[in-house]
Amino acid sequence: MTKMRIKIDELGTDILKAKGFELSVGRVVEEWEETPGPNPMPDISTLREWDHKLLKKYKPFYLPFCDLCCLCTMGKCDLSKGKRGACGLDMAAQQSRIVLLSCAIGAATHTGHARHLIEELIEKFGRDHPINVGDGSVYLEAPHARLVTGIKPKTLGDLEDIVEYCEKEIVHLLSCCHTGQEGNNIDFESKVFHAGMIDHVAMEACDIAQISTYNFPKADPEAPLVEIGIGTIDTHKPVILVIGHNVPPAVEIYEYMKRNGLENDVELCGICCTAIDITRHTQKAKIVGPLSHQLRFVRSGVADVIVVDEQCIRTDILNEAMKVNAVLISTHYKNFQGLPDRTNDPTDEIVNDLVSGKAPGACILNSEKAGEVAVRVAVAIAPKRRKMGIIPEDSQIIEAAKKCTQCHSCQRVCPNNLPIPEAMKAAAKGDLKPLADLYERCIGCVRCESEGVCPNNLHPHTLMVGASRIKIREEKFKIRAGRGPIQDVEIRRVGGPIVLGEIPGIVALVGCANWPDWKANALIAEEFAKRNFIVVATGCAAMAMAMYRNEEGLTVYEAFPGAFDAGGVLNVGSCVSNPHISGAAIKIASIFAKRKLNSNYEEIADYVHNRVGAVGISWGAMSQKASSIASGFWRLGIPVIVGPHGSKYRRALLGRKDRDEDWYVIDARTGERVYVGPTPEHLFFPVETVEEAMVMIPKLCMRPSDTTKGRAIKLNHYIDLHKKFYGTLPDDIHLFVRTVADIPVTMKDEILEFLKEKGWKESKNPSPDPTLLPRLIRVKKEG
C-alpha cells in the first residue's frame, strides 16, 4: 500500500474524517520511559569509532579464498602479493568487501523474511495485534529494537517501522560493495559490523511477530519436548515434509489438518528452521533433522508432499522430488523452482493436477491454500506411492562397491575429504561398517555423486545412506521446542553471577550443518552444561545437539533443564531466534546493570564486551546468514568460534595476546588505563578440531570484570580442559591471573610455579570498572 506524507498543519479535518487512512506521527518518545540515548537509528558512520576500537584489538587476518576478484567486467584481477585490481582495490579490502557482501546477503535474507512474515501476520491478525513474547514474564520484549532504533514495539504494525529502517541500512551497505566505493579494509569491517547489528534487529522483529501470533512457547523454560530424527516419522501415514524458514505455510498445513480431524492421520515433519518453528506451534509436528539430512530424507521417499518456503532449500529439490514421485509445493516467490504460479487457480483444480501427476508441483503463494492443497494431495497420493524411494539394499551396495576403481575422485571433491575409496574397498569385501561410519561426517551434499565425478558412475552418498539404514531408523530423539526469549526474571537472577564470572559463561551453539561431524555439537553442549555454563542453541546446531545420547541414553535436552541458568540447555528457537541470545547479553546490561538502553548502542556494547562472558560457537557455519549473525555478535564484542569450514568466510578477527599494549581498558572510576589481559582473546576464530574449540570456549568467556572468584572458576575450566586435551598446562596463564586470588585453589602450587617462571607480577588494579569509552569515565583524571 502506498502512502503520502503531509505536514500535520496541512491536515484538514476533511482528511481526518476519511476512513481507512493511517497516520504516522513523529514517534512520541515519552511513551517509553527512557529518553533516547545518543544514537537512535545509527547509520553507517554513527558507530564507526566503536568498531575501530574493537578492530584495533581484533585485527583481521585475511584468508583469500581466491587470488582473484571478478566482480566487475574490468576483472578478473589478481590481487595476491600486493597487486591491486583495475579499480585500485587491494586484497585486504577485497576480502573484507566479500565479507560485507556475505553479511549484507545474510541480513537481507532475514530482513526480507521478517518483512514478508510480518506483512502476512498483519493481514491475518491486524496491524494492532499486540506483541507478546513472554506472557508477562518479559517486559523488555525487544532489546535490539529498543537499543538500535529507539522504538519500543507494541503491535505488529510497529515491527514494520523497524524493518523499514533495516531495509534502508542494508541497501546502503550493499551499495558499498559496488566497484569503486570503500577502499579501506577496516572501514569495510566496520560496515560488516553494521550489517550484523541490523541483522539482529530484523531477526528479532521476525521472531517477535511469530511468537506473538502463533501458539509458540513464550519465553518458556519448560517448553515441551518434541520428537526429532528420521526414525520418529511414521511412514505408514501420508507424510508432508516442510523445508525452509518461513513457518506460516506449515502452520496452515497443521491448522487444516486440525480443522479436518486429520491431526493423527497425517504426519507433518520438517527440516531446517521451519521444522523448529512448526514444533514451536504444535508438538504433533516432528523434526527430521538439520540441513544435512535434507537430501537423504527426500531420497528415502518417505515424504509424499514436500512444501518449501525460503532459505536453506536444496536448489535441486524439484529434481529430487520428481525422482521419488513426491509432489513439490513452493510457497514463496523467493524460490519458484520454475513452477507455474497457481496462487489464483481454484484449489480443486490444483489438487487434481498434482494428484493425477499432470504437474510435478505448483507454486502457491498463499499459505492457507498451500496448506489445504498439501494435506489433500498427501492424503490422496500416499496410498499410491511406494515409500522408501532410492535407498539400496546391502547386496546392491556390495555389488556397486566392487565397481570402484579407487580413483579417489569422489574423495577429492568431497568438502570433508571423506575416505570414500577406502570404505568402498571394505564394502566390496562385504564390510559395510566403514561406509556407515562416514555417515556422521557427511554433510549430505552429494557432490560425490555429481555428473562426471565417478568414472564408474557410482553414488557414494546413496551407498553410505544405504549402509546406515538401520542406524538411520534408530534416529529417534527428543528436543525441547524453541522457547523464545529469556525472561526478565531469569536475567535478574543470573546477571550478577555472569558479570562477576561466577557463572563461567554463556555458550551459544548456533548455525548450520557444514561440519566435519555432527557429534561435536552434543559433546560441547554436554561438556559445558556439566560445567555449569549456560548452554543456549538455535537452528541446525540446536537440532544436531539433540541427535546424540549420553551414557544414560538421554539427549542433552532431557539431561539438563531448559532454564537460563547455570547448567541449563536451552533451545531458543530457529535462526531468527538468535537475537534472544545476543538480546540476553543486552538485557543483562539493561535490566541487571540498569544501563540506559534506548538508542545507546555503544555503551551497551562496551558493557557486554567487558563484562558478559558469552561465546558463540557455530560448528557447521555455512551460510551468508551465519556470517551476518556472527557479525551482530562481534559488534557487541562477543566472540564467535567457527568450525574449520568457517575459515572460508575469508578472515578471522584475532587478538594478539603477546602484545600487552592491546589489552588495556579505562577504569571508569579513575580514568586510568589498566592492563586486563587478553579478555576475550579473539573475536572471530575458526578452529581446527573440536578439542581446540573445547579449550577456547572457557578462555573466551573471561572478561575484565571477572571477580577473583569468577576468574578462578573460569581459569579452572580453561586449565582443566587444556590439560585434558593438550596434555599440559596452558602457556598463557600469567596473562589471565591478576592476583593470587584468581588462581583456582586446587591448582595453586602448580600455577604459582608456572607464574614464577614467567616472571609474573600481581596487578596493581585487578578489578577496574572496565570500559573502552572515555566518555564513561566518572571522575576525569587530572593532568
Binding site: K59, F61, Y62, L63, P64, F65, C66, D67, L68, D78, L79, S80, K81, G82, M91, A92, S409, R412, V413, P415, N417, P516, P644, H645, S647, K648, A652, L654, R656, D658, H682, F685, P686, V687, E688, T689, E691, E692, V695, M696, F725, Y726, G727, T728, D731
Partner: protein
C-alpha cells in the same frame, strides 16, 4: 611446474606453488634460511604410515636435525609431549598464520621475521590451504612457505605434489636424513 590441488575444487589463482620433485630442495631451503619455522597440525599425529610411524615422528626428526623451532597447532602439543618432544610453542593454526604475517614477530622472540615456514598436517585441507593463502598475500614480503604435507598446496611457494602415503614417508625420511647428514658435517 605446478600441480593440481588435492581437493579438486580448491583453485587458487594464477600463482601456484612450485612442485618439489626432490626432497633435497627442502633441506636446501631450510639450510639456507635465516630463521625457519616448522608448523605442525593434528594430522601429523592422526595419520599412520602403517609401520607404526606417523608424520609427527618425522617432524621431530627434522626439527631436531635442523634445529628448527616447532609450533604445534590445535591440540597436537599433547602428541609431541607424549613423544618427549616439547614444541617451541603451541597455538591455534589461525594464530600462527596471523603471527607469521607480522615481520616483527618470531616464535623465539629472536631474529624476526621468520623467512621460511615448513607446514605440515594442519587438519582439513581447505583450512590449511586458506591459511597459506593468507600468508601468500600478507607475508610475501618476508616469508617463503613450503608445504611438506601429503598433498599439493598451491598457495605455498613450494609444495610436494599429491603423494601416496608411501611416497610421502619416503620424502619426509629423505628430508630428515639430509638434514641429519648436514648437521653431522
Amino acid at each position: 611446474m605446478a600441480a593440481e590441488p588435492w581437493q579438486k575444487y580448491e583453485i587458487p589463482g594464477p600463482t601456484k606453488a612450485v612442485v618439489i620433485t626432490k626432497p633435497e630442495v627442502v633441506s636446501a631451503l631450510v639450510t639456507r634460511a635465516k630463521n625457519p619455522i616448522l608448523v605442525a597440525g593434528f594430522k601429523t599425529a592422526e595419520i599412520d604410515f602403517g609401520n607404526g610411524k606417523k608424520p609427527i615422528d618425522y617432524v621431530i626428526r627434522i626439527a631436531k636435525a635442523a634445529n628448527i623451532p616447532v609450533v604445534a597447532t590445535a591440540h597436537t602439543v599433547s602428541e609431541f609431549l607424549k613423544r618427549d618432544f616439547k614444541p617451541t610453542a603451541w597455538m591455534s593454526a589461525m594464530d600462527i598464520g596471523n603471527r607469521l604475517t607480522d615481520p616483527t614477530w618470531s616464535v623465539t622472540g629472536k631474529n624476526p621475521p621468520h623467512d621460511l615456514a615448513l607446514i605440515i598436517g594442519i587438519s582439513h585441507y581447505y583450512m590449511s590451504w586458506l591459511i597459506m593463502s593468507g600468508l601468500k598475500s600478507f607475508a610475501y614480503k618476508h616469508l617463503k612457505t613450503v608445504s611438506i604435507d601429503q598433498y599439493y598446496y598451491p598457495h605455498c611457494n613450494w609444495s610436494f605434489p599429491n603423494l601416496s602415503l608411501k611416497d610421502w614417508e619416503k620424502n619426509l625420511t629423505a628430508i630428515a636424513e639430509n638434514l641429519e647428514k648436514g648437521r653431522k658435517k
